[in-house]
Symmetry: C2
Subunit: 438 residues, 2 copies
Amino acid sequence: MNDTLDPKLRSWVESAHDPATEFPIQNLPFGVFRRAGSDEAPRVGVAIGDQILDLCACLAEGLLEDVREGPAAIACAAPSLNVLMSLGRAHATALRAGVSRVLRAGGAPTRYDRERAERILVPMADAELFLPADVGDYTDFYASVFHATNVGRLFRPDQPLLPNYKWVPIGYHGRASSIVRSGTPVRRPHGQTKRPDDERPTFGPTRQLDYELELGFYIGAGTSLGQRLAIDDAESHLFGVSLVNDWSARDVQSWEYQPLGPFLAKSFATTVSPWVVTLDALEPFRRAAFARPEGDPAPLPHLVSVVDQARGAFDVTLEVWLSTARMRDAGLDPCRVSHGSFADMYWTPAQLVTHHTSNGCNLRPGDLLASGTVSGPEPSSRGCLLELTTRGAEPLSLPGGETRAFLDDGDEVILRGYCEAEGAVRIGLGECRGLVVG
Amino acid sequence: MNDTLDPKLRSWVESAHDPATEFPIQNLPFGVFRRAGSDEAPRVGVAIGDQILDLCACLAEGLLEDVREGPAAIACAAPSLNVLMSLGRAHATALRAGVSRVLRAGGAPTRYDRERAERILVPMADAELFLPADVGDYTDFYASVFHATNVGRLFRPDQPLLPNYKWVPIGYHGRASSIVRSGTPVRRPHGQTKRPDDERPTFGPTRQLDYELELGFYIGAGTSLGQRLAIDDAESHLFGVSLVNDWSARDVQSWEYQPLGPFLAKSFATTVSPWVVTLDALEPFRRAAFARPEGDPAPLPHLVSVVDQARGAFDVTLEVWLSTARMRDAGLDPCRVSHGSFADMYWTPAQLVTHHTSNGCNLRPGDLLASGTVSGPEPSSRGCLLELTTRGAEPLSLPGGETRAFLDDGDEVILRGYCEAEGAVRIGLGECRGLVVG
């Protein structure tokens, strides 16, 4: 295992040892930032404790010697991670290893003075974080069999899980233009809706606004048109992961989605978290692929490998937290409404990528492949309100006495994610926030 | 009417008067080109007869005085039309008007010498044409009720046209990364397929490769997230049109498309033609919106305006031509296999754009909105083989004795389009070509 993951590693950045931090030295996710309120150029940084390591400043200070002359150094000055992503896993791995050395207790900066440390660190509290990547194409999968079954039951009671589900990693193209950074308010969309008993549809604000808890994978090195990836090569094209909230207007969706799939029910906004946790950092949290229940078919041969079956899944715990306007007024903290594990997904990330390129479709650096709603087998692990409230029939009870069937204006949805494993330091994915506005 | 459309206008470029030309002075479509085999920077040009007017060269020669100091001049040096598109209709209209003056008989260049004309013109035969725009998001609609009914009958015999069709301009997100320029060979994709009697799916090359004849609209000025366009403002965000071939693998599509729509059945390639014909040039070919048959509902109010109903459709004749390897070996010309009119679409372009932004989804300059397969009421106007051969049951007869249910390797599909109207000069859209390779 890569020495950046050594649980004994310590950083000279004190907040990296706060028990609550998501960003110990074993994590080191990449993002794009600048000092808030400044007109600085957005540039690449790495999260450490409650600070951001400014990679351009490190280079200017003569740190990161190993990458100084290489393309990764140029990538650090870009306003998105796309250039770094395009270089492929090896470059990002080397850069992350260099960052680990800079941040280690006993490493480079302690040989210098506090002033120097202050030149290369920016407090997160003083930073503005941007979209991590310029997403060319956004693909949304449907990789939780629990989600597909729960939702299918509501939309098609006679046939919840369609015959293709266990063979085809179902996915569709999402809208790239409306991907927004965490913290961007989400305006309740208008749309056409028609209740079963209505004679005709009407147009107006959605009455069934929902979130979807997802994990998103950013493509690193691209593929060329016509190139089909073998499953054991697929992960080398994945850069890392972020949280994704694929906001959905359920009443719009059920009226519009046949026969070509969701369109305006989703395209009004998709929120992503600012930090991209690399596959290197996720290494200690690998798991065997989802164990298909007895009777389920084995995937077709191009979607299977010994290695992927043994360790192609990732145990990332994902949570949804909700805060309403009334809760905030009453001084109540956000409450957790569900939590599940990404290891419960029916398909591994490598299977999703392999499937995506199986027709020769090209992937570009920065493309976003989201998992689809992460739901597990338990009621408490249902990753959207549609499932959690059985389409509003069983509203959720919130602190302070409120209930929710779907989202109200003033509700803030906060996605969180973290990884824990025996013998590894806990790491987190940060937050993905969005406040619903009318 | 704009004086660039005057049928009496003549150009000093002789080939602009060839009766077969698609590019008389009344057309003036924009594209991106460079001299073939050169390392010149791709830049903006305008088609005229069998020549390309090099707009950067015009500016260098002191022509196009009206735009020389403005942003449109900078846009001409860009390697895509996105910058020009982003400026909005008025800038493109002014640039096209300036181009018209440069090219008019008795206009600027005749005051100078032949040498100068040669400096600003590049023969199309010597040029390499690029994708006209860097497409951020590609949306594919389904706007022909004839296509939707014909295809629906094959995929869902019990319910060809779903209840939402006459209310919702059905569309879905396509793949932007695999949009290719005309002339790019299209590799037969692999995919999962399962025939009704098969016990399990198999993975291999598609056996039902098809084309789709479509018209594509490029977005000019963008919209912001949350902005809903009124229908009478929608066209001001459209820059112009190209031909689009939305290649489809029908066996992959029928197995994968439920419940989230087409994905790998389409994402392996979409071919677009190089010239973008502006809405200004299409002005003489406007028609009243499609006359909905008795009994069809009126669209919801936000999708209707007096102006759009009166003149929101465009009478563009669209054709599919096919050439097989054996036909080429035998010296046979491509044969036309279908032809229809874009005026037969159930929704106008303004309705499609209005619908697209009705949930606040933002459009960016260069986004491509394709119409969906253009099919009319006649069997001869069916815009894909799926319809034309009733999913292979009634193969097409070709010159030389061949038949086709779906496309074979070596088949070349050529889309063409043109406009004719009383009192107007005929204009064409050029060609959109793709050769199927195994």
